[in-house]
């Protein structure tokens, strides 16, 4: 692909992302699964436990990144398939990669935008400090991309609405919370739990956020960044394949 074509495709991806932001960010499913869900899960976990707020904030950041970024694709794509507006992208002179990149950008910005709120609250009201800015920023960026791509991949499941995608998706997302060192730090998990947690992308998000905010890290930032990069690539590739299969079936 020529450089000119690449720039053109990138602009179209941005256009698709911005359109999704305008139309879907304030929609009820986005607010419910992207904001209400992670915040309520977080509150049900921390209320009544004697946990310092500075230790709780990384959990909230990781959860909001995870749920917000991964919810946009499974909301926008089934809705657009039902309204046949998704066909506009398929018949536009751009590649499927560009279309899905645009959708990923929408999930990425949503996740980053919402997870910045707990960082700001922690810094302003509770004096939490950033100890490793690079780990925090790169961890958040890579996580938001990986989770947004994960959502896009699940959005290729056949279904007539967001509910039909988000329900089975939650059967994957919620168990991931329990093996990812969100509620129990990885170092306190049994050996088999530590092995299992290594394969969860969410583990590496919270690892990097903790490394960024309180210097605590079990696997090391480099491993976590590598794992998130691999997951992003895998989710994008599998998502594209699934969408091509859909085009062959529909």
């Amino acid at each position: 692909m020529s450089g000119r074509r690449l720039i053109r495709e990138a602009k179209v991806a941005w256009t698709i992302g911005i359109k999704d932001i305008r139309i879907y960010y304030a929609s009820p499913p986005s607010l419910m699964f992207g904001i209400l869900f992670p915040f309520s899960m977080f509150l049900s976990f921390v209320i009544g436990r004697n946990m310092p707020i500075t230790r709780a904030i990384p959990i909230l950041i990781a959860q909001t990144l995870f749920f917000a970024s991964s919810s946009i694709g499974p909301i926008t794509i089934p809705l657009e398939r039902r309204m046949q507006t998704f066909d506009r992208f398929l018949s536009a002179p751009v590649s499927l990669w560009t279309v899905l990149l645009g959708k990923t950008v929408a999930g990425f910005i949503y996740g980053i935008g919402i997870s910045v709120i707990p960082i700001a609250i922690g810094a302003v009201f509770f004096g939490s400090q950033i100890t490793d800015l690079l780990a925090l920023v790169s961890g958040m960026i890579l996580s938001a991309f990986a989770f947004a791509a994960m959502g896009i991949m699940f959005a290729s499941l056949p279904g007539q609405g967001p509910g039909q995608i988000l329900m089975p998706f939650n059967f994957v997302r919620i168990p991931l919370l329990f093996i990812s060192g969100v509620f129990i730090p990885v170092k306190d998990l049994p050996y088999w739990g530590q092995i299992a947690s290594m394969f969860s992308p969410l583990t590496h998000t919270i690892e990097l956020v903790r490394a960024g905010l309180d210097g605590e890290n079990f696997f090391g930032p480099l491993l976590s960044l590598s794992v998130l990069t691999i997951y992003f690539a895998v989710f994008v590739f599998v998502g594209i394949r699934f969408h091509i299969i859909n085009q062959k079936r529909e």
Binding site: T15, I16, K19, I23, D87, S91, A92, K248
Partner: protein, 340 residues
């Protein structure tokens, strides 16, 4: 491949062995056809015949199970960007963004086609004015009527100054005024050089609008020709339409018993008598009415309509809305009135 003398391709669309399976169901079965540049090509068939599936394959939305399609010489799968740059699509439902204004719908589509800002804004204004929606450009499309949404949908398909426009049932479910406005618009666009691929199940629309028509049934093309040539293929299917002031219950059976009448079909308050000898049957109807004291209020001789061709080729009786109707001495029901 059909090539003009100067070496340029003459086909806007070229489908070869296009096939689509949904599981074990064959929705489109190895169809091949060509659409010439500048023509209005009708794709006519009953619901479920494979019309929309064909359009989806031609426009790159769906990947064919077998076969190829070319748009202006570009393979829709292998050179999809080049092919898609030249086409506009109006699907069977108006797939507009209800949460965006008409203006934003158009400019967003322009961005998908990578049109420069100034160009897409000029074009959006031009199209909104052409479609009579410029005054309401800033309103969300969700407030628009179905006909207005259809017009926006067509405008969105034209934003990139496409060379070929795919229209899938463009007038389906619209009021008469919107139907007439859209048909007029399609004619104007075609006069300006745009190739039109029109999918419809409406015989009247196909007959009025199309230079050539392909009839598709159960995934297979059963005929391709101009509407008039298709009608001529069943010229033997002549009929007489008659309505009486006050018909008795036995009229239908009595008419069947008249000499040279092959079949009688009751259509509302009229009877359609199929015959190989219309002058003879006309005389007999007159004698029958006089003998039974019946007043004839409508009497027409009819040639075959595209609807008749459709029925003959597919064996499916179309709904009455789809059969050609014309006003004359009385209201006709199907068939082409002869100019006597």
């Amino acid at each position: 491949m059909k090539v003009e003398e100067n070496g340029m391709m003459n086909e806007a669309v070229r489908a070869k062995n296009l096939t689509k399976f949904y599981g074990k169901l064959c929705a489109v079965d190895h169809i091949s056809f060509e659409v010439e540049k500048g023509e209005v090509f009708g794709f006519l068939g009953p619901n479920g015949a494979g019309k929309t599936t064909t359009v989806r394959m031609l426009t790159g939305i769906s990947i064919p199970t077998e076969g190829t399609a070319e748009i202006m010489g570009y393979d829709i799968q292998r050179q999809s960007v080049e092919a898609k740059e030249l086409m506009g699509i109006v699907p069977d439902i108006s797939n507009v963004y209800n949460d965006l204004s008409a203006w934003n719908n158009l400019t967003f589509t322009g961005k998908l086609y990578s049109m420069p800002k100034a160009d897409r804004e000029i074009r959006a204004k031009e199209l909104l004015e052409l479609f009579g929606l410029y005054e309401r450009r800033d309103e969300k499309v969700e407030t628009y009527s179905r006909g207005m949404k259809r017009r926006i949908c067509i405008a969105m398909a034209l934003i990139n100054r496409s060379a070929i426009l795919f229209l899938d049932e463009p007038t389906s479910g619209l009021d008469v005024q919107s139907v007439l406005a859209i048909r007029k618009m399609i004619r104007q666009l075609n006069e300006n050089g745009l190739t039109i691929f029109l999918t419809t199940h409406n015989m009247e629309e196909a007959s009025q609008m199309c230079d050539r028509v392909a009839i598709i049934n159960r995934g297979k093309i059963v005929a391709i020709d101009s509407p008039e040539k298709l009608k001529r293929t069943i010229e033997s299917l002549q009929s007489i339409e008659v309505a009486f002031g006050k018909a008795t219950p036995t009229v239908s059976d009595d008419l069947k018993d008249l000499p040279n009448v092959n079949e009688v079909v009751k259509q509302g308050d009229k009877y359609r008598l199929f015959t190989d000898d219309p002058p003879m049957v006309l005389a007999k109807i007159w004698d029958y009415a006089t003998a039974n004291g019946l007043k004839i209020i409508t009497l027409n001789t009819l040639g075959p309509s595209l609807g008749d061709v459709f029925v003959k080729l597919t064996g499916i009786q179309p709904d009455e809305k789809g059969i050609e109707r014309r006003t004359g001495m009385g209201r006709g029901m199907g068939g082409r009135r002869r100019q006597n």
